[in-house]
Structures are given as structure tokens and as C-alpha cells.
């Protein structure tokens, strides 16, 4: 680069002899040579300093990123552990043993005489009959006979808040209005012809 810049200067002084030409630029124009030296040295040092600084900044950024990654990974791990453990608890709560026990604690019993109301023509299919008290499966000595040791931690008497709310909700609708919307269940899934 410096050769390229100083070439025109050399060409202008081309007339003297070879020896003069070699000596003269050194003595006659020392400033012209010295200034670029300082300038380029400064640039070089500045670039090197900049590179070192960038390197330091980058490595600090990367390693502080590593700390952030580690923290986030840890919290992600903890959260997924919590998620798994909660969903497993949910699965235990929704196990048939637990659901049946809860249903019976609300006074529900299994009916032995299934009957359906056909929505299309209002016809009653089957023989509707009041569910007998004997339909209780888990009563007395026959409390759940299908073991689930995981449920021993879940007290049978405790009713989760959501269930309590659900109960009052149902009770108030039934009392407040006779036009109760049909919940999803047998009636909707019952195969019935589309008549017009």
C-alpha cells in the first residue's frame, strides 16, 4: 500500500542519478515517509486493540449466554418436571377407582336398566327404571377392590374446589329453571334416524 502511494513522488524526481535518487528522498522528504508510519502504526494498534476488545466482549457475551442458557435449561427442566408430576397426578385422580368412589360419595349409583329417549320422535327405548341402591359398587365391605396404591395419598374425603363449584352449579340450574340444556351424553350419541 505504501509503495503504491509513494510511486508518483518517485516518478517526479526521476531525473537525478541512481545514487542520488536512492539518497535524496530520505534526506529531502523525511516527513513524507515518517507520517504514514505513525498513521499506519496507529491504525494497526487500534485494529489489534479493537479485535482484542471484540474478542473479550464476545467471549464475555458467550459465557454470560452460557449462564443464561444454564439457568433457562434448569428452569425448563424444573417446569417440565412439574408438568409431568401434575399430569400424572391428574391421571391418578381420573383413574376409574377414584372417579367411581367420588361418584358414589355424591350418591350416584349404577343403573341396571339402561333406557334411551330417541330425540327424533320422543320414543322411549328400553325399560326405564329407577336405579336401585344395590347399584352401588363400592359400598360397605366392597370399597374399591381394584387396588391403586397411588390413590392412598389422595384423601377420599377431600373434594377439590372445582368439583364443589360444579355441584352447586348443577343444583342451582336444576332448581332455577326447568328448561335444562341436555348435557353431552347418551342422548346425543344415540343412533337415531334423521326425520323431517
Amino acid at each position: 500500500m505504501s509503495a503504491l502511494l509513494s510511486a508518483p513522488a518517485l516518478r517526479r524526481e526521476a531525473k537525478p542519478t541512481r545514487a542520488q535518487a536512492w539518497l535524496r528522498p530520505l534526506q529531502a522528504k523525511p516527513g513524507a515517509k515518517r507520517r504514514p508510519k505513525v498513521f499506519y502504526a496507529t491504525v494497526t494498534v487500534a485494529v489489534v486493540a479493537a479485535i482484542i476488545l471484540a474478542q473479550i466482549v464476545l467471549s464475555v457475551a458467550v459465557s454470560s449466554g452460557a449462564y443464561e442458557i444454564a439457568t433457562l435449561q434448569k428452569s425448563s427442566k424444573e417446569l417440565s418436571r412439574t408438568y409431568t408430576s401434575m399430569s400424572q397426578e391428574l391421571e391418578q385422580m381420573s383413574s376409574p377407582q377414584h372417579v367411581a368412589a367420588r361418584a358414589e360419595s355424591f350418591g350416584m349409583v349404577s343403573s341396571n336398566s339402561p333406557a334411551y329417549l330417541r330425540l327424533s320422535d320422543g320414543k322411549v327405548l328400553g325399560v326405564p327404571h329407577r336405579a336401585a341402591d344395590s347399584g352401588a359398587l363400592l359400598r360397605g365391605s366392597h370399597a374399591s377392590l381394584v387396588q391403586n396404591i397411588l390413590l392412598t395419598d389422595i384423601p377420599a374425603g377431600s373434594v377439590p374446589a372445582a368439583v364443589k363449584m360444579g355441584r352447586t352449579g348443577v343444583a342451582s340450574t336444576a332448581a332455577g329453571s326447568s328448561n335444562v340444556a341436555l348435557p353431552g351424553g347418551p342422548l346425543q350419541t344415540m343412533p337415531s334416524p334423521r326425520t323431517r
Binding site: 458467550v62 459465557s63 449466554g65 452460557a66 449462564y67 442458557i69 444454564a70 418436571r81 412439574t82 409431568t84 408430576s85 400424572q88 391421571e91 391418578q92 383413574s95 376409574p96 377407582q97 367411581a100 349404577s110 343403573s111 341396571n112 336398566s113 339402561p114 333406557a115 334411551y116 327405548l125 328400553g126 325399560v127 327404571h129 359398587l137 363400592l138 366392597h142 374399591s144 377392590l145 381394584v146 387396588q147 391403586n148 396404591i149 397411588l150 390413590l151 347418551p186 350419541t189 344415540m190 343412533p191
Partner: protein
């Protein structure tokens, strides 16, 4: 400036530079080559740590996706006995010294161990080895326990991951699913036979850590990729399975029976919807069940089926055109055949029976006289087509084929007893499968228990199903169902079979069982097998109780009835009583 001085300076500078370079090279070679191995070892011991990446064992679910078995991470609590000394903890800004005894009582309060127990564990380890750095305090604690222990911040307490298995529905289908050992190895049931689907492989990774234990970026090397297991889907319906188990258990207990089985089979597909065994096993607590009841008796315990066999024999007679429901036979209480075979019926009845009457009265003499028109080899062929004598398509762990000897090996007595279910053995599932053939217009679809496997990449691979076998003609099959409907509507247990609004077909069987000494014991295995609804059979139900106190099929009838009602309700089968069959039983 004189050139000589300049040159000397240059030489000196060069020499110094070269000397420095030489020094660095020596040092470099020393570090990188000579002491490389030792230094690497030293550094990696401090910085890098190989760790296991656990592959997740796949779920086992029922037909509706309800999870029956699931991987769960548990934690082993370990300690370094030699470091179990006093440590300081900051409480409310003040430093408090915690002694090992205090720490032990804190741990014990969470794990449920006595503090002395924990101190004993530490002391015993130190007695064996004064430098002991590792001992288990307790194994397999759950997440909440692990977190509570971790929050204690005891410097000599450590944890390790312990992949384990949890069964959210407990004993529901426990006998089928099986269980895994504490080391994660499958030990029973589908966990073992379907390991190809749900099994996982652990991987390994190495990364370098800084002094504070944080991973150095870019240093993570996965040397072995972990492979997760697939998801296994069963044909079982968890709700019906639970109901079957509960109803069966209740009745077996009331009857003081020794064991019981209840099988529900989908007629059009051959899929097992429920296979209940009593006693059942909760895979979360395997030790709570005796060893012999940890598998599935329905697959592994063959017994002489008894009179439920008469439906199969009637099917042969109808198919071969040797008899019809109205065929007459004089069936006295007791008989001695020309070949010397002698037996009698279980009770006295009108001897002038039709084939339908033979079924309703369950007359051994009647069925024997009629089925004598079929040669033993023909009957043997029919029996094998019904699926007797060979294991089902399920290939359950420890499944039995039952014992069915070739007809040429039948002795004079066996010649007849095979017609009414003695002299050979079959499993409950084999018999249910034979009834499925009758319910399905004579075509037996091999039973299935596993629906398929969802591979980790999301592909669903349906389980292999065997080829269907045409056993008897559709007309013969319909004829047998009609006769079985008359057993339910006209037999002595008719009140127990009644389901308002539905038609029921069933056959009872009170079978003698081997006493283990070449004879028969005094107690029976009582069975009811049948199908609902009788007009268009959709479900086969087979229920069995051994050694019931009633010693008759009345002991098992409530189970059959309740399961029939439940399956009809569960699958919203439309009530229909039209076209009920009423056959003539006597002449």
C-alpha cells in the same frame, strides 16, 4: 549509525527471539506431547463430566388413549459419609451450625425414615471404609420429596436420577400390563413382550464445566444418542376393565372363591375389550399380590371348560347337518355306552329332550348321544378350528395352549367327555374366542390384545392380526345363538340373565377340576359364556369363578349379568326385544 553496530543489534535481537521461540517450543512439546495424557486426565477429571441421557420408555395406553403405564423420573438420595460433618447454614441472616444428627432428622421428616436409621447408614458405611464417599440413604423418591430434600441444602447430600415406571390406574389391567424391576428391566406381561415397542435406549454425553459447574459453550459432545420408546396401544377399554375387575372381585370374595376371570370380546373384530383376573396385581405394588397371580390367568391357566363346550358341539352338529335345534333325543339321567363309557347328568330332568332342550338342561347324556354321529377326528378338526389346542394370536407372556390330545389318543371315556368339556383343557381366552366364532356367523377372528405401536417418529404400526378361520356355517352359528338365547330365557337361571329391553344368549358350565392327583376335586370351576345382544351379537362375555361356595353357575351369573348390562350401556347398544327365539325343549 554504523552498519556494524546495526548488524550486531540485529544478530542479538534475532538470537533472543530465537531463544524465546525455542523455549516456547520446548514448553509446548512438554505440555502437548510429553505430559499430554496426564494433564488431560487431570483436567477432564476436574472439568468434563460424562453423563447419561435417559431414553424415555414409552407409554402403554388403552384403546381410548387412557394411560396405563408411563415413564416417571424418580430420585435416589445418596450421601458422602466421610463429608457428613457439621456445616453452617444462614437462617434469617444468622449463621447456624447444623450437625449430622440435626440434618438426619430433617431428612427423615421428609423421607419418612427415623433419624437413627440415617445415622446408622452413614456409620455403617464409615465402618466398612473410613473414606467412604457414597452410600444410598433411600431410593426412588418422588419429585416432591426430592425437591424438599434439595431445599435443605445439605452439602453432603446428593441425588441421582432413577428412571422408573408409574401405573396411574393401579391394578386396572395390571395383570396384562405387567411391571418393570427397580433397574427398569421389564419383568412381566406386556411390559416384557412388547418391549420392542416401548423399550428405550439410554444415551451418553460429555461436556466441560467451569469451576462453578456451568457448561462451557461448545464443549458438549453427544457420544451416544438416547432413543425413546414407542407408545403401545391396547384394545382394552380401561373403564370396562375396571368395572369387570371390581364386579368380579366382589363376587369372588362373596363366594369365597379362589380365583376368577372375566373376558369381554368384541365380536366383529376379535379385539379383547376387557380381560379381568382376580386376584389382580397393582403394578405399583407388585409385592402386594401372590406370585402366582401376577400374570394373567385368563391366558395362562387352562382348565377343563365343562358344559360351555356344548355350544361348540351343537355348532358342529348343526354345521355337519347331523342335527337341528328340534332334533329329539332320549336322554336319561345316567348312561353306559357300548364302549363302556359311563356318566350321568348333573340333575334329573325330563328325558325327552330336543337339542335345544339338551342345551337348556345341559344334558351330558343328550349331547353325547347326538354328537356320537360325528367321528372323533371330525370333532377334533372342529375343535382346532374353534382355536382349542393352540395358543392365541396374542402370545401373552406364559400363555398356555391348553391340552387337546389328538382324537386317536382319546380313550373310551374321553371319546364322550370331550363333547361336554371334560378330558381336555382350554384357557378362558381360547373359549371366549370360540364363542366369538359362534357370535360372528361361524367365522373366528383371532383375538388381539395389542392394537398397535406408535413409533418415536410418529408412525403407527398396527399389530399383526392372524387370518380368520371359518369354523361353522352362518346358519349353524345362528342356530347355536338361538339355543343359547333359550338357555338364558328358559333355563333355571333365567331370572339372573334378565336384562329389560335386551335379548341375552348364554351357556353355563359347571366343570370338575383336577385335584392334582389324577382325579377330580369336589369343588368346581363355574363358567358362564354368552353374547349380547342375542339378535345381532356384538360382545362375547365369559366369566369364571373357581371353588365358589355355591358350587354352581348361580355363583357367577351376577357377574355375567352386570358385565352384559355395563357393556350394553357403555357402547350405547340400542335396546331391542323383537324377534326373540323361543324353542321347544321337550317332546
Amino acid at each position: 549509525m554504523k552498519p556494524v553496530i546495526t548488524r550486531r543489534r540485529i544478530v542479538i535481537t534475532m538470537f533472543v527471539v530465537l531463544a524465546l521461540i525455542a523455549l516456547f517450543v520446548v514448553r509446548l512439546v512438554d505440555i502437548q506431547v510429553v505430559r499430554a495424557a496426564a494433564l488431560n486426565e487431570q483436567s477432564s477429571g476436574k472439568m468434563s463430566s460424562p453423563s447419561t441421557v435417559y431414553g424415555v420408555r414409552g407409554d402403554i395406553s388403552d384403546r381410548n388413549g387412557i394411560i396405563l403405564a408411563q415413564a416417571q423420573m424418580r430420585y435416589n438420595v445418596t450421601a458422602s459419609p466421610r463429608n457428613a460433618k457439621d456445616f453452617e447454614r444462614t437462617v434469617d441472616g444468622k449463621k447456624v451450625t447444623v450437625t449430622p444428627a440435626q440434618a438426619a432428622s430433617e431428612i427423615g421428616r421428609i423421607t419418612g425414615q427415623f433419624p437413627n436409621e440415617i445415622i446408622d447408614i452413614l456409620n455403617r458405611a464409615l465402618q466398612e471404609n473410613a473414606e467412604s464417599d457414597f452410600v444410598y440413604i433411600t431410593k426412588g423418591v418422588e419429585l416432591a420429596t426430592y425437591r424438599a430434600l434439595d431445599a435443605l441444602d445439605i452439602p453432603w447430600l446428593y441425588f441421582e436420577s432413577a428412571p422408573s415406571r408409574v401405573y396411574p390406574n393401579g391394578a386396572v389391567a395390571g395383570n396384562l400390563i405387567g411391571y418393570v424391576g427397580s433397574d427398569g428391566k421389564p419383568l412381566a406381561g406386556l411390559e416384557q413382550t412388547a418391549n420392542e415397542c416401548v423399550g428405550s435406549t439410554d444415551g451418553q454425553q460429555t461436556y466441560e464445566r467451569g469451576a462453578d459447574g456451568i457448561m462451557i459453550p461448545g464443549s458438549n459432545v453427544v457420544s451416544k444418542q438416547a432413543v425413546n420408546g414407542g407408545k403401545l396401544k391396547l384394545t382394552i377399554d380401561a373403564d370396562l376393565q375396571w368395572y369387570s375387575q371390581q364386579v368380579l372381585a366382589k363376587q369372588v370374595k362373596d363366594q369365597r372363591g379362589s380365583w376368577g376371570i372375566a373376558v369381554i370380546l368384541e365380536v366383529k373384530t376379535g379385539k379383547l375389550i376387557s380381560v379381568a383376573d382376580y386376584p389382580s396385581v397393582d403394578p405399583n405394588n407388585v409385592d402386594g399380590t401372590a406370585d402366582r397371580f401376577r400374570g394373567s390367568l385368563a391366558f395362562s391357566a387352562p382348565y377343563e371348560p365343562g358344559s360351555t363346550m356344548k355350544s361348540l358341539t351343537s355348532g358342529m352338529l348343526l354345521d355337519a347337518g347331523k342335527a337341528s335345534a328340534s332334533s329329539r333325543v332320549n336322554a336319561p339321567y345316567e348312561i353306559t355306552f357300548p364302549n363302556g363309557a359311563n356318566f350321568h347328568d348333573s340333575g334329573h330332568h325330563n328325558p325327552h329332550l330336543t337339542l335345544a332342550g339338551v342345551m337348556v338342561e345341559s344334558s351330558n347324556v343328550g349331547i353325547s348321544k347326538l354328537a356320537d354321529s360325528l367321528s372323533p377326528s371330525v370333532r377334533y378338526d372342529y375343535m382346532t378350528k374353534y382355536g382349542l389346542g393352540s395358543a392365541t394370536n396374542v402370545n401373552f407372556l406364559g400363555e398356555s395352549e391348553g391340552i387337546l390330545r389328538p382324537s386317536r389318543e382319546w380313550d373310551n371315556q374321553t371319546h364322550y367327555t370331550t363333547m361336554f368339556g371334560q378330558g381336555f383343557t382350554a384357557t378362558a381366552v381360547q373359549m371366549a374366542s370360540a364363542y366369538q366364532a359362534i357370535a360372528n356367523g361361524g367365522v373366528r377372528i383371532p383375538v388381539t390384545l395389542v392394537d398397535g405401536c406408535t413409533k418415536p417418529n410418529g408412525d403407527y404400526v398396527p399389530a399383526k392380526t392372524g387370518d380368520s378361520v371359518k369354523v361353522i356355517s352362518p346358519e349353524a352359528a345362528r342356530g347355536v345363538v338361538d339355543m343359547m338365547e333359550n338357555v338364558a330365557s328358559q333355563g333355571w337361571l333365567r331370572d339372573k340373565f334378565k336384562i329389560p329391553g335386551y335379548r341375552v344368549a348364554a351357556k353355563t358350565g359347571t366343570a370338575q377340576q383336577s385335584n392334582g392327583q389324577g382325579g377330580y376335586s369336589k369343588s368346581y370351576i363355574v363358567t358362564i359364556a354368552g353374547m349380547v345382544p342375542a339378535g345381532d351379537p356384538k360382545y362375547v362375555i365369559l366369566t369364571t369363578i373357581a371353588d365358589a361356595s355355591l358350587n354352581s353357575t348361580a355363583a357367577v351369573a351376577p357377574v355375567f349379568h352386570d358385565l352384559a348390562v355395563q357393556v350394553l350401556k357403555h357402547y350405547r347398544i340400542q335396546p331391542s326385544t323383537s324377534g326373540a327365539s323361543r324353542l321347544r325343549l321337550y317332546y
